[in-house]
Each structure stands twice: as C-alpha cells, then as structure tokens.
Symmetry: C2
Subunit: 202 residues, 2 copies
C-alpha cells in the first residue's frame, strides 16, 4: 500500500510491529490519532515512555512492580507457605482475578523452548531455588501453573526435578473439563486427563 505521507508510513510500520496488529489495523489506529486532538497522542506516548523507562521487576518474584518489592511479596495478608510458579505477569493477573489463591508467586519469564533458543538459564529458575532454600523461607508447597503445552510440560518437568531434593509439597494445577464445558466437545486428551485426575466426593 502507498501511504499519503512518510510520517504515516513510519508510524504504521512501528504500530504494526505490535503483536496481532497488521498494517490495516495500524493504519486505522494512526488515522484515528490524527483525527483526535493531539493531546491524546501525546498522553498515549508519554504513558508508554514513562512505563518503559521506569518499570521495575520485583527482586523476589520477578513480577512487574512499582518498587523493588512488589505489593504481593510485601503484603502481610498473603500465605507465605505456598508459592505458585507461572510463566508471565499475565498469569499472575489471571490467577489473582480468581480470588482463589492467597499465596506468593514466582514469575519464570517464559518457558524452556530450545526452538526459540530459551534454555533453563534464560529463566528465573536459580532465584526460585534460592527462594525455597533460603534459611528464612517459609515455603512448604510449590504449585506449578504452567501452560499445558510441550514447552510448559518440559519446564514443569525440569523445575520439578530441580526442586525434588527440597522438603516441599509439589503440585500442578488441575487439568480437566472447563466449568460449563460439554463432555461431548472436549478433546480426548483433556477428557482422558480429567478421568485420570478425578476427584473424590467427600
């Protein structure tokens, strides 16, 4: 596509680098910004610049934070005996939204993926070991909440091997039929695992 202006072309190229945004959507967004008052563009770019320049990661759990220690790690209301290992910050947000978990987190920053050149050393696994082995650690259980993909399973296997010598309960989130899901339409692997992992009425 030919753009009416070099400025538009540059902006479209930058915006379309964002995930899930193609050239057409980028053009629509850019033209929207031009139509709006320029204050709205400057507010957007200032917020993004400020975010990128000042973002801090919690030195304990590696979650995104405003300070050196995130609000979850700092909180006195969280259960310090339980630690949930996740891939990314989004996963922390998703679990927090359920209101079913009150323990701490550990954000690995990804999963082991040799295809993308990500080995265990690229992830925050050493700091996880330091956390559980720290003499003041109160952690008694580690929950692995990783994606049910090949990479996620590999990472879970690796982490569980590294943790097996510590006196810890190790668990994984339940896999099964989603709430509201229909047995008829579930794939065989999920249905099979939901049978193997059946829970007892009590």
């Amino acid at each position: 596509m030919e753009y009416p202006s070099k400025l538009i072309e540059e902006a479209v190229n930058e915006v379309s680098k964002l995930p899930g945004i193609g050239k057409k959507t980028a053009l629509r967004l850019v033209l929207h910004l031009i139509k709006e008052n320029e204050v709205s563009t400057f507010a957007l770019t200032a917020a993004l610049n400020k975010l990128r320049a000042n973002i801090v990661f919690c030195k304990y759990c590696h979650n995104i934070s405003d300070e050196e220690e995130c609000s979850i790690c700092r909180s006195h209301r969280r259960d310090r005996s339980i630690l949930c290992v996740v891939e990314e910050t989004v996963d922390v947000l998703a679990i927090e939204n359920t209101s079913q978990y009150s323990g701490l987190y550990h954000v690995l920053g990804g999963v082991i993926s040799p295809m993308n050149g990500i080995g265990p050393s690229e992830l925050k696994i050493e700091t996880l070991l330091q956390r559980v082995s720290h003499r003041e650690s109160e952690i008694k259980e580690v929950i692995l909440a990783l994606s049910p993909t090949m990479e996620g399973d590999t990472t879970a296997f690796y982490v569980s091997k590294r943790l097996k010598d510590f006196p810890l309960k190790l668990s994984s989130i339940a896999r099964g039929i989603p709430i509201g899901g229909d047995l008829e339409y579930a794939d065989e692997i999920t249905l099979g695992r939901s049978i193997l992992g059946r829970t007892l009425f009590n």
Copy 2:
C-alpha cells in the same frame, strides 16, 4: 482488574482509548512492550509524536500530506477534470489501491451527522465549492464516493444540492452486488439497487 503497577494501569488506560482495543488487548500490548527491548517502545512513541506534531493536510484536497500540497494534487499525471469527493483519507487510500481512478480528490473530513453534532459547516464543503468555482478550475465531473449509510446519503444529497448550479457532471459510485458476491446471499436493498442501476451490454 487490578494491575501490578500504576505505570501499567496508566499505559493500559491510554492504549485502550484507541478504537477497537479493549483493556485486555491493551494489557497484552503493554506487556509485550515491556518484554521487548526498550528501544522498540521509544521508536514507536517517537514515530507517533513526530507524526502528530508534523502532520499536514493538503490545502486543496485536505488529504493527509507531507507538504502544503499533497502528492496527488501536485502530480502532472492526474486528470484534473474529475474530482472524487470522499469522507476520509482511508477512502483515498482504498480508491488509489484499485488503480482505476486517476483524477483528483476532495476529503470532506466526515459526513453530516446531527446525532454527533456534525453539520455541513464542520465539513470541508465550502472549499469544495471554491475549488469547482475557481476561475482556473478544470473540473468537469464530480464523483460522490460516500458511504451508503443514512449519514452518507444525507451528505451526498446536501453536496449535490450545493453543486447543482455549476456546469458539472455529478455522479455517484455504483452500488450493487460485489464482485464474487452471491445473488442468493445479497440483501434485498443492495439487490434492488443493482437491478435499478443495471448497466447495458454494448
């Protein structure tokens, strides 16, 4: 949703003001920027700031431009006897992409929409009249290429009334069954207009 950081919250709020981007997509985009090298964020915001600060509209056709006169109005290869009236810059891009039109454009900047407080005076209609009435004007035909909506039709009606005293051919783009479209699935109004507006073999 509770965000792990005020910076994230501000950025998500700004990004979700863009059309078609909700809070969840905004969060995904913002987290993507955090994961990437900070250079990519700064390149994005710099391109948007530069665009918004320096964008110029052609003083003749009001299309987005790098200079006072856009590349189409400046071009010696365009047919100056024909003028296509459109709503927005995207429409110019869409028509240019067809390679079927070599005339000039006039971008109204919207359509008459009393519901949104947009009357004829908010649109670039006066400059359109000036263009066709200019003593050096070569314009012989005006094509109205507006959306087939209530507002588009109202605008087309208003513009055609304002232009009726000039010695001009006035036309509208054809409405009908899209190429590759199936008669069976066309709505009645489109199909009806395609019959009324039938073209003769010759």
